[in-house]
Amino acid sequence: MKLEATRLPTFANGVLQVWKRSYLQFKRFWLMNFFWIVLEPLLLLLAIGYGLGSFISDMKGVAYVDFFFPALLCMTSMFVSFFESTYGNFAKMTYQRTYSTMILTSLEPKQIIVGEILWATCKGTFSAISVALIASFFGHLNSFLYIPAFLVIFLSSFVFATMGLLIMSMVKSFDGIIYPTSGLIVPMSLFCGTYFPLEQLPSVIKYFTYLLPLTHSVALVRGMTLTGINWWQFSLHLLFLIGLSSVLLRWTVDRITKKLIL
């Protein structure tokens, strides 16, 4: 008797199918998404970068809006990927039981988690690219170094998407997402060298911000596209983001697998 081997989809194909589900859902509500992932950051660019920024004559040799722009891209991708993986996934994990049903197929929890993280990462990167493209009409996006910079934004989005999914697996309800948002994400957007340089902070707080991923994303993107960055700083920032994402990913896979498989 000939044994017929079961044809199993590859790990990557499973991940892609999970990604695609979220993409299809996004496509259906793209207009609503456009408002908060693209329009909102553009308004911030106008109000803070051009409006308030016009009163600041010199920001270490550059215009305030140019100083702010790389940070705005990092912040935007952080908010979008973090909210996508928290709010976007909580229902699927809990009362809609989307994941519990997905694992009844040949998908395994790890594929679902990686697929969802990659989706949130792409959405974060996509929003940063959209903002940058529109801002290019105002003369931003003036360097080819933005191409590698978007790869850094992708990595940084991956960190926040993973962080979001991990937090999603810990909270008991939608309201629970408010604590990490107000306690971690919003402070990061304010103090990680975004609106003003880190040097303005008291030194204790300044060193503390180096524990936060957004500091490293902003330093990388601003360094690459505006101020220049030397190789060892570049490597350290990058290593921090890669290290953090792999630790967070392992933790997330562990937690969610235990929730899905009793």
Binding site: T6, L8, K20, R21, L24, R28, S100, I103, S106
Partner: protein
């Protein structure tokens, strides 16, 4: 020798200190509809979850479609279809899209999945609802879509956990009828249910479960004959008469069960003895009926009743 589809040897599952499945031995053969029958909390769902990989096993061995559930769960999942207790359809998508998506998770080629979707929609009488979002479906339709979804990968084994729970009688009959056909056409069905009538009607063999343990396995009629007999005389009495009647029944060596304080079910091994029981009880409220799986279950599980002489 028929092919073994599921084989469980000494299967045990614990949550913290609580043992929910205890030393279960089971064999399910190809082409049969196998029922796992028991009340809520008996461990049926957990046992089925272990078979489809949504629960791990603590002890024992489990083989599904010839593969080890501990090491080859992805292969197993690719070859079986599952309808979980809560079908949890994807409410962001339409009926048709639900089936396409599920096919994609299984790695079924898009064209094949589209083709199978149309076939399954017809089979489940959902062809007019293909483009509706799932939240407009009635619970019976949702259940049918859940079954269609479980069949998108053309499974050789179908695991259905309470497929008729919460359905009205007509919808329930439709499911039963459907399962009769599926069984002959497709292969093996494992059905978890707390519904005795369902198990008796459509299962070839059943395992009766309670408190995590399998109490008996066999064909429904054989189990009834073995544990109850051919007839049951059921009669109502008042509480203070109970001891009197039990003494009389014991004297004649009848098997019986006391339900609550005011009902006695006497199990008869031959239909000729029915009159003898009637003459003992001399009650207006005595009825003679066919025994059912409920009688077997009550006898084996002994819930709220004393089935031994006091």
């Amino acid at each position: 020798m028929r092919k073994l589809i599921v084989e469980a040897k000494g299967l045990t599952k614990k949550f913290a200190d609580q043992v929910v499945v205890k030393d279960v031995h089971l064999e399910v053969f190809q082409g049969e509809c196998f029922g796992i029958l028991g009340p809520n909390g008996a461990g049926k769902s957990t046992l089925m979850r272990m078979m489809y990989g949504s629960a791990t096993t603590n002890e024992g061995e489990l083989y599904v479609v010839g593969l080890n559930a501990k090491t080859n769960i992805r292969e197993i999942k690719a070859r079986i279809g599952v309808l979980p207790q809560d079908e949890a359809l994807d409410r962001e998508f339409t009926v048709r899209e639900n089936l396409h998506l599920y096919g994609s998770y299984h790695g079924v080629d898009r064209d094949v999945a589209v083709h199978r979707t149309e076939d399954l929609l017809k089979l489940m009488r959902l062809e007019d609802l293909g483009d509706q979002f799932v939240n407009v479906l009635s619970s019976a339709m949702k259940r049918r879509l859940g079954m269609a979804r479980a069949m998108i990968n053309q499974p050789e084994l179908l695991l259905l956990d309470e497929p008729t729970a919460g359905l009205d009688p007509q919808a329930r009959f439709w499911v039963w009828d459907f399962l009769e056909n599926v069984k002959t056409e497709m292969g093996t069905v494992i059905l978890g249910t707390h519904f005795m009538e369902e198990a008796e009607k459509i299962c070839d063999r059943i395992a009766i479960m309670d408190r995590g343990q399998v109490l008996a396995v066999g064909e429904p009629q054989a189990l009834i004959r073995q544990h109850i007999g051919v007839q049951v005389v059921e009669f109502q009495i008042s509480k203070h008469e109970l001891q009197y009647y039990l003494a009389r029944l014991n004297a004649q060596q009848f098997h019986y069960q006391v339900i609550g304080d005011s009902q006695i079910n006497v199990h008869l091994e031959s239909s000729e003895t029915a009159q003898k029981v009637i003459s003992i009880v001399q009650s207006q409220k005595a009825t003679i009926r066919q025994p059912t799986l409920s009688d077997v279950f009550l006898r084996l599980a002994g819930h709220h009743l004393r089935d031994e002489p006091l």
